[in-house]
Symmetry: C2
Subunit: 204 residues, 2 copies
Amino acid sequence: MPKVVLTYFNFKAVGESIRLLLLYGGQEFEDIRLTSEEWRQYKPTTPFGQAPVLEIDDKKYAQSMAISRYLGRKYGLAGATLEEDLEIDMIVDYINEIRAKGFEVRYEKDEAIQTRKHADFTQNVYPVMLNRLNDIIEKNNGYIALGKLTWADFLFAGMFDYLKMMMRTPDLEEKYPNFKKVVDRVHALPQLQEYLANAPKTTH
Amino acid sequence: MPKVVLTYFNFKAVGESIRLLLLYGGQEFEDIRLTSEEWRQYKPTTPFGQAPVLEIDDKKYAQSMAISRYLGRKYGLAGATLEEDLEIDMIVDYINEIRAKGFEVRYEKDEAIQTRKHADFTQNVYPVMLNRLNDIIEKNNGYIALGKLTWADFLFAGMFDYLKMMMRTPDLEEKYPNFKKVVDRVHALPQLQEYLANAPKTTH
């Protein structure tokens, strides 16, 4: 078994899917959660100045989606054909666009712009994208893609609280009931129970 | 050979890598370039309300990166191991973040915000990200990843003029000479010569 270290913050956000996938795969790993001070020290050693970073036998990898895809393929949570992988990837990229919209608001430094952008996206962007995603999950029998469990479900479940926070929509699952199906299915997996019962509390 | 139709606009932008990969793979395809009027008609039939769309035997796929990865794997332009694919994917995701920053400025509707954001990113965001990418290409012997030709080179070469336009930096290759190496290497591939000599002229 390779030596695996995940370095992120004490958030779920875009690091949680990696944790959940490693647990699913039965891979032992060190789950490092940096403080801001520790991050300043660690940042220059990362591939892109970003977290999460996954170290596998001392080689460092970055980018949450890329790492989640890698683990998904490794643990049998990818497609059976190239076309099936394309089907997963295209929906994952769409989810990432939704995340990026929320991100654009959340990390806007100018408060006036942030307020206006949040109102604009809440009116004109989020409903279209979220409805479409809800429909996709409907069509896929309560999964993100292919009508079965894939790494895309882990990706979405891992960032769900983060999406809610960035979009300021604590009742997101009531508006889009299929989102909850995906989260619940992932969270019901036996490999994750011990972790979920004992995981550090985080806001998102 | 499957029946393949690419539907996009008369731009390179995020559609060109798909064209170049299909040409590299020797796949015949219809290269539809929609007018704005045609797009309004076509849009409701797409998976996500977005272009490009790649039809393979009448099944529609969306998302430029996902499609490019699919074609890259199909035509022998991916990694030899899961770890090599992760290496490609993480750099591609980083390039996509750079693209998304330019996109955020280019498609900002409020002109005052757009001006300020362009100035901010030009000062604080683009240099760090572009320098890092330039260094990555340096380390990879003039390629995006793995020190050899992969689909990531097609992705970058295809969107290069688009990046320059969005960042308002016509001399991008002078500041970051390694970018030009990637573009030139892709554009020198024999499978692309007839297309490149005859392709419709586009601004970006």
